[in-house]
């Protein structure tokens, strides 16, 4: 109003008073005489104060504006500029956006939506940035998928998109969207930011706003401050610092999530199933951190696109390889030496990454089996690779693989070798700005091989499992924050449960070859992710089926105890004939209710079918364990998990906190008869029992994200129980009562702190406390054949002493140097890590051994068996250039 008056009043003389810094709006322009100025002249007056953004075609540059004499603020000028010209302005910081005035809505129809889609990549190496969020100023949001593809549909017009990811600097993108368009977003890493967080939600605040709950994500890059285990960054060992994730102590393969067994974790490396995740009997995992981009752990309820295991999904993605520069990184420590080479083959089009690792010393493990005579030596190696082709903006190809081997040998020439192999080929195709397709063909294999040269056991033993998976995954980005994901696939599994062949021709051993088992498992899934007011939801359904295929022989038993002697008939299935089919209906639901900006309530439900069971009657899994395909007698195990959580961020997202309750019930839990004989047994059904299980708990987590001191504290209170009940007492365990599973650990507490002393020096430390594992103590003893025999009654009624441990590591970065090569200056970085595992030399008890005290007396004692009782120092050197 006021501006209208100004317009008509004053006259001529032009001079302006420049603002003195602080605020742009302080700038005034003094007109001593009334004057007619062109629009472009007015723009020139404004430009020293603001950056103007406009499209030329909407500005009538030659049009004259009459200005009366007087004092004008910049805003006044902007108003005059827009007046009657069908344009409007908007001030944001030091920028002014000039845009066409919104026309009156002519038809009461829905505002027109347009889509912005494209890819998000790391500016440094061209790798896809996964899980970056894109939000508009009006809080419309989307995020990049597993391949860095994003699509966001917004009302036509001007938008400021903010792209966020924890490992990257935020980026703002101002676009005036008139029609759908694609955009390549590149993000810059948070280089050298010492308060960087490693175990994170997706982006600040994403930890709480993500619909799927119970997810932990670990990212790996050269600046990661993950605590070191024996001087090595380790994917799975690091996860033990999170609530609800435990293991059975040192020297035990795998991790246990929410009271589930290790075989209930679906471990995926670039979509390939990894059947055994450990090297060195569990001391470190098979994943080379230098080739890993990130790890997502779904503790219980995975979205519908994942399935196949009861307890969790651990999704590991390999890095793609730098498509701009060649890099070499590596390191050497007490455990292993590593080397990674990556670079472009065709710049910004075709890139590769190769990473190799090998144990440095042939580890002498007294710990592998203390009952065997002689010492065992062990070593391992692995290779990862990935090739990535950006064929054109709509097509991208990936090929990645892994080969790993563990080897042991004993004094008497028993050689063992085992390992995983995988090959993943993928094609990403963008149909249009809303529809994205990933096609994968995945192969993975696990094999175990043993040779024993001594008679009478001289033999070559092998077991193998192959998995082929062909799948299609569609992402359809609808407007209004909705994402549809759907797809399906065909999974083929072939298991060679065991062959035992003579090592040499003259051997006395007879060949034994168990029948190959084959199964096909087609599946379909559908997921809808979206937002309704304060409620975020992800509703999904997974339909699975599993068919074991002949040829096969199925034994019919006349008694439920199924002893080998009670076989009354055999049914023979021909090649290709379906022996047994199972169908699974697996609903998944996640709801997240936003209470306010900083807090969310989340609840979820999932059902999971597991069609592959690990045949293992030892307490800790072993590399010899065999995967069994569900068949006539071994039914798939089924779990239902419910969770409820409260997530809250404090102090402007500097502190993340969460509390989550869960309950998981299981059916068809596989258990084994006492004294089960599972070695090369073609009638494994004679050795197994079936039970039900339940596990439940509370998980608390607090994490500080920024500042010199970062870190997190986690606590879990939980219970994990099994019940094996039957009308026939022989087929029961513990009289059919619920009893604690081997991995029931009531309290789990961990604290991790990372303190940056200077840019080059940081210290990290972690402390872990876990309730002792359940164990069975003898109730009595007696003598038989001159041997003292402990007598046991009910299983797992006692506890080992509690486990606790403190680790410390110091990271010292070298001065950043530069190398001149081909006239180019390259950065060189290196760092040392010094770490101590088990600082105060706690004798953590792995198990109890019952022994006679000596030759003379008949006294017996219980000896605690300790795997790593001493403080273990280690040094690692890492470099990159």
């Amino acid at each position: 109003m006021k501006k209208h008056l100004l317009l008509t009043l004053f006259a001529i003389t032009l001079s302006y008073v420049k603002s003195n810094g602080q605020s742009h709006s302080d700038g005034f322009i003094q007109l001593d005489n009334a004057k007619k100025l062109t629009v472009s002249e007015v723009i020139e007056l404004i430009e020293p104060h603001y950056i103007l953004s406009y499209q030329d075609k909407i500005i009538p540059f030659e049009k004259k504006i009459f200005l009366a004499a007087g004092k004008y603020s910049i805003t006044d000028l902007l108003v005059l500029l827009c007046q009657g010209n069908g344009i409007r302005f908007q001030i944001e910081g030091d920028q002014v956006f000039i845009s066409p005035k919104k026309r009156k809505v002519r038809t009461p129809s829905i505002p027109k939506y347009i889509t912005l889609s494209g890819s998000i990549t790391n500016i440094k190496n061209g790798e896809a940035v996964i899980g970056a969020s894109i939000t508009t100023q009006t809080n419309i949001g989307s995020s990049s998928n597993s391949y860095g593809f994003f699509s966001i549909t917004v009302p036509k017009g001007e938008h400021t998109f903010t792209i966020r990811h924890t490992s990257f600097k935020n980026q703002q993108l101002k676009l005036n969207l008139i029609e759908s368009q694609t955009y390549k977003v590149t993000l810059e890493e948070n280089v050298g930011q010492l308060d960087e967080v490693v175990i994170t939600g997706y982006q600040r605040n994403e930890n709480i706003s993500r619909t799927v709950s119970g997810v932990n994500k670990l990212t790996f890059n050269e600046d990661s401050d993950i605590p070191y285990f024996l001087g090595e960054v380790d994917v799975l060992q690091s996860s033990l610092l999170l609530p609800g994730i435990t293991n059975l102590g040192e020297d035990s393969n795998g991790i246990n999530i929410r009271g589930g067994s290790t075989s209930q974790n679906l471990i995926l490396l670039d979509e390939a199933v990894i059947f055994n995740s450990n090297h060195f009997f569990g001391l470190i995992s098979v994943f080379n951190p230098e080739s890993v981009n990130d790890v997502e752990i779904f503790k219980g309820n995975p979205p519908a696109r994942f399935g196949g295991r009861n307890a969790s999904v651990i999704n590991i993605r390999q890095r793609e390889g730098n498509d701009k520069n060649f890099n070499v990184a590596g390191g050497v420590g007490f455990v292993a030496g590593r080397l990674t080479v990556e670079g472009p083959i065709i710049k910004e089009k075709l890139s590769f990454l190769v990473s190799a690792r090998r144990s440095v010393l042939a580890f002498v493990l007294g710990i592998t089996d203390f009952t065997s005579t002689g010492e065992t030596t062990a070593n391992f190696d692995d290779i990862n690779f990935k090739i990535n082709l950006k064929a054109d903006p709509k097509n991208r190809f990936y090929l990645s693989g892994y080969v790993g081997n563990d080897r042991t040998s004993t004094q008497f020439q028993t050689f063992r070798r085992w390992g995983n192999r995988s090959l993943t080929s993928r094609w990403n195709h963008i149909f249009n700005d809303q529809l994205f397709l990933n096609t994968s063909l995945v192969f993975s294999e696990y094999q175990y091989r043993v040779t024993d040269q001594r008679e009478p056991g001289s033999f070559l033993g092998t077991s193998k499992i192959f998995n082929y998976n062909f799948k299609l995954d569609f992402n359809y980005f609808l407007h209004k924050n909705q994402l549809l994901s759907f797809g399906g696939g065909l999974n083929t599994i072939q298991s060679n449960p065991g062959d035992r062949l003579p090592l040499f021709n003259e051997n006395s051993t007879n060949p034994i070859q168990l029948d190959t088992e084959v199964a096909i498992s087609p599946y379909l899934y559908f997921e809808q992710e979206g937002k309704f007011k304060q409620l975020n939801y992800n509703l999904g359904l997974r339909l699975t089926s599993f068919h074991s295929i002949g040829k096969d022989e199925v034994f019919i038993y006349d008694s439920p105890t199924r002893s080998p002697e009670s076989v009354v008939d055999t049914i023979t299935y021909k090649n290709g004939e379906i022996v047994k089919s199972y169908f699974g209906l697996e609903p998944r639901a996640f709801l997240s209710y936003q209470i306010n900006n900083n807090s969310f309530l989340k609840t979820s439900y999932a059902r999971n079918y597991q069609y592959l069971q690990l045949i293992s009657n030892t307490i800790t899994p072993s590399p010899t364990d065999i995967w069994k395909i569900s068949d006539t007698y071994i039914e798939p195990s089924i779990t239902n998990q419910y969770s409820f959580g409260y997530y809250r961020n404090l102090l402007n997202n500097k502190i993340e906190a969460s509390a989550e309750l869960y309950y998981r019930g299981s059916r068809n839990v596989l258990a084994f008869k006492d004294n089960a004989d599972i070695l090369l047994n073609e009638r494994i059904e004679t050795e197994v029992l079936s039970g039900i299980g339940r596990s439940y708990g509370l998980e608390l987590y607090v994490k500080k994200n920024s500042g010199r001191l970062t870190g997190w504290i986690s606590y879990a209170l939980s219970k994990s129980e099994t019940r094996v009940a039957n009308e026939i007492p022989e087929l029961e365990i513990n009289s059919g009562d619920y009893f604690p599973t081997n991995i029931d650990q009531t309290h789990q507490f961990s604290a991790t702190g990372i303190y940056s002393i200077s840019k080059r020096l940081s210290i990290s430390s972690n402390f872990i406390f876990v309730t002792g594992k359940p164990t069975t103590l003898p109730s009595a003893k007696f003598e038989l054949n001159g041997i003292t025999v402990p007598r046991f009654t009910a299983r797992n009624q006692d506890r080992l002493p509690n486990y606790h441990r403190l680790d410390l590591s110091i990271r010292l970065s070298g001065k950043k140097g530069k190398i001149k090569k081909n006239k180019k200056i390259k950065k060189r970085e290196d760092y040392w890590t010094f770490s101590i595992y088990n600082v105060y030399s706690r004798d953590n008890v792995f198990s109890l051994v019952f022994r006679e005290t000596g030759m003379e007396t008949n006294n017996t004692e219980i000896i605690p068996f300790i795997v790593l009782g001493d403080a273990i120092p280690s040094v690692t050197y890492n470099f990159k250039f």
Partner: protein, 281 residues
């Protein structure tokens, strides 16, 4: 900083509460009847041992049961009565010999009147040890210089019969004393070697020059094989990383009038084949 203080104090708290003793109470004493004996196809006496189980921490592991009446009967209704020769130890007469193909059962009547019987145990034939040789091997001690230490181990040659389903136990003696630790329960099935002429290299048994090595092969039934396999597992691998959960070791003996009573032990029958060799100079 608060986080640090909090974590340190929690750490200390946990450290204090977790300094506890390794082993707690081992439960109540059961004192179950233990019957342990074996009949061989060799010259007697054959031994039955009677005792009660004791608490795990107790100083002894053998509380004898005396003044019991014990008979061994076969499936042809022949009866052999045993006599007590030491506390809890009962012997058959010297001329009592098990016979291949016969089945045997023990019946024990305790002084308190309770009667226990075993299942019938079949005495199966055993494959012959056709030859026993001694092989030399060595290892190095790398303490001062490299010292090669020689040792000797026995190798037995056996022709396994063509019929499938034979089970064996090996026993090894040094200078006529049998090794008798849990690790010395050496079991074998013919599953991998059926019908073959095979050699058993007993590399875990090491002899010096002039020692006498005795190797014995005993026949087992599937039941006694499974029992001994379980016994070995319960006494050797528990607590090791490859260990299983302990289980209830069930024998083949029961109270005649009370099926619910838990009776420990095993009664079996075996045929024996034996060979002896002196380690050469």
């Amino acid at each position: 900083m608060k986080v640090l203080v909090l974590s340190i104090s929690l750490l200390l708290l946990l450290f204090i509460i977790s300094c506890e003793n390794v082993i707690s109470d081992l439960g109540v004493e059961e004192n179950l009847v233990v019957i342990d004996g074996w009949v061989y196809d060799t010259e007697g006496p054959h031994e039955i041992r009677l005792s009660r189980s004791v608490a795990f921490e107790s100083e002894t592991n053998f509380t004898p049961l005396n003044n019991a009446v014990i008979i061994i009967r076969d499936d042809q209704s022949n009866i052999e009565t045993l006599s007590q020769v030491a506390p809890g130890v009962y012997h058959t007469k010297t001329d009592f010999e098990g016979r291949i193909g016969f089945s045997y059962q023990v019946e024990v009547t305790l002084s308190n009147g309770e009667t226990y019987i075993s299942d019938f145990a079949n005495l199966r034939p055993v494959a012959e040890i056709q030859r026993l040789i001694i092989e030399e091997s060595s290892f190095f001690i790398q303490d001062q210089g490299i010292d090669e230490v020689f040792f000797y181990f026995p190798v037995a040659f056996v022709q396994e019969p063509i019929e499938m389903g034979n089970f064996y136990r090996w026993r090894v003696a040094k200078n006529h004393v049998f090794f008798n630790e849990p690790e010395d329960i050496l079991l074998q099935t013919d599953r991998f070697i059926n019908g073959n002429f095979f050699r058993n290299e007993l590399t875990d048994y090491r002899y010096m020059q002039n020692d006498t090595a005795t190797v014995r092969l005993e026949s087992l039934t599937v039941e006694s094989y499974n029992f001994l396999r379980f016994l070995r597992r319960q006494t050797t691998s528990l607590g090791s990383p490859s260990g299983t959960n302990p289980g209830i070791l069930k024998g083949n003996i029961r109270n005649k009038s009370n099926d619910n009573e838990v009776v420990l032990g095993y009664f079996g029958a075996s045929a024996v084949s034996e060979a002896t060799e002196v380690v050469f100079n």
